[in-house]
Amino acid sequence: MRDFVVPKTDTKIQGEVKLEYAFQLRAKFDPARRSRTPKGDFRYQDITSGDVHGERFNAAVYADSGGQYDTVRPDHIRDVDAHFILKAENGEWIYVEHVGYRRPDGYYRAIAYIDADTKGKYDWLNNTTFVVTAKESADEREVVFYYYVAN
């Protein structure tokens, strides 16, 4: 290993992050299909429908464009991994990815990475970091995701 002495600089810097609510996605999923894997129980849920409501963003889920590809770890925490496509009210296509955790204690938090057309109305979604929380129905087939911009 290389030696490295940390130069003494500026650990006084404490940059802030503030959250600002942006929109919500009401999504419907097929029942989860589970399979046992060496990493835990793989849990696949197809996204069948849904819609996005927000002041600056309205869209519909493109049916069967993806879903949740979670892994239920041995400690019962779900590593959330979701990918799907939205179609905005003006026809633009938008990609959404979620990476996060769903814990048995009710904590469901993720980061959303969103890609949109740089020349379109939704360029503001690009390069924006979203913090997501979610409310699930008892059967876990209806999930409302709430997106906050990390400003």
Binding site: M1, R2, D3, F4, V5, V6, P7, K8, T9, D10, T11, K12, I13, Q14, G15, E16, V17, K18, L19, E20, Y21, Q24, I77, V99, G100, Y101, R103, Y107, R109, A110, I111, Y113, T118, K119, D123, W124, N126, N127, T128, T129, V131, T133, K135, Y146, Y148, A150, N151
Partner: protein, 248 residues
């Protein structure tokens, strides 16, 4: 000490006037920028539990401490932080909280571009420090890099003060705005394409979202927690200060 430095790396040098060899051997503290920073260093920085492996850094920190203690320092950076919750006008929308967990200063060494179909960048991590209420330690020297393609995408290791090795995969976004004017809202700049010469200067909001793999034990919470960071890029030496918030 023998060091491997990519031969092309020496050509990509505009970002910092620091000699990489000097930087990696610890001579960076002698550079003008670092020396200036040292002079204004807050005393509480030395409070962080520094692993034995960075004994030389500790010695330097002790010097920094004695220097800056005499100037007097106010708020300790290690006090228990408060959570801030954010909501929406509609009270049905669940609130989400943020709480400062720790910070990391990461020093970069080589900057290289690979001319792949979508260009792949390589910015190696030289080392650094981790401090704050929920984690202390260091960035394991030469343990990885930012292997970016369009956006920041780093893989490297922390070594906590108890010796635990923690893997960080950190993705980031940089959103560009016109240079902010006091009292006015930020005006975003279209994200398409790289900035051209002659474009007006932009202000960048840099946020990172790490996923940690930590061993069982006191750091296991990092495997179950979503984080978001404010990232401040700094020159001379080339480094970034990451302030990590737990998402509550």
């Amino acid at each position: 000490m023998k060091r491997k430095t990519h031969p092309e790396a020496a050509t990509d040098y505009a970002l910092t006037s620091l000699d990489r060899r000097t930087f990696l051997s610890g001579g960076a503290a002698m550079t003008a920028g670092a020396a200036a920073a040292l002079a204004t260093f807050p005393a509480q920085r030395a409070i962080a539990a520094v692993p034995a492996a960075t004994a030389t850094a500790t010695a330097a920190a002790a010097t920094a401490k004695s220097d800056s203690t005499s100037k007097g320092s106010s708020t300790p950076s290690h006090q228990a932080p408060e959570a801030t919750y954010y909501g929406a006008p509609d009270s049905d929308i669940p609130k989400v909280g943020l709480r400062w967990a720790f910070s990391a200063t990461v020093f970069f060494a080589d900057r290289v571009m690979i001319g792949s179909p979508a260009p792949r960048g390589y910015t190696s991590v030289g080392g650094g420090e981790v401090w704050g209420p929920r984690l202390q330690g260091r960035v394991l020297p030469a343990s990885g890099a930012d292997y970016y393609k369009n956006t920041f995408n780093t893989y490297y290791m922390y070594e906590a003060s108890d010796g635990a090795l923690i893997f960080i995969h950190n993705r980031g976004t940089m959103r560009r705005f016109q240079m902010p004017e006091p009292g006015k809202p930020l005006v975003p700049v279209a994200s398409g394409g790289p900035p051209a010469p002659g474009d007006p200067p932009v202000w960048t909001r840099f946020r990172a979202t790490p996923v940690f793999t930590a061993p069982d034990g006191p750091h296991a919470w990092m495997n179950n927690t979503v984080f978001v960071a404010n990232c401040q890029r700094q020159d001379n030496p080339d480094h970034t200060v990451f302030t990590y918030y737990e998402v509550l």
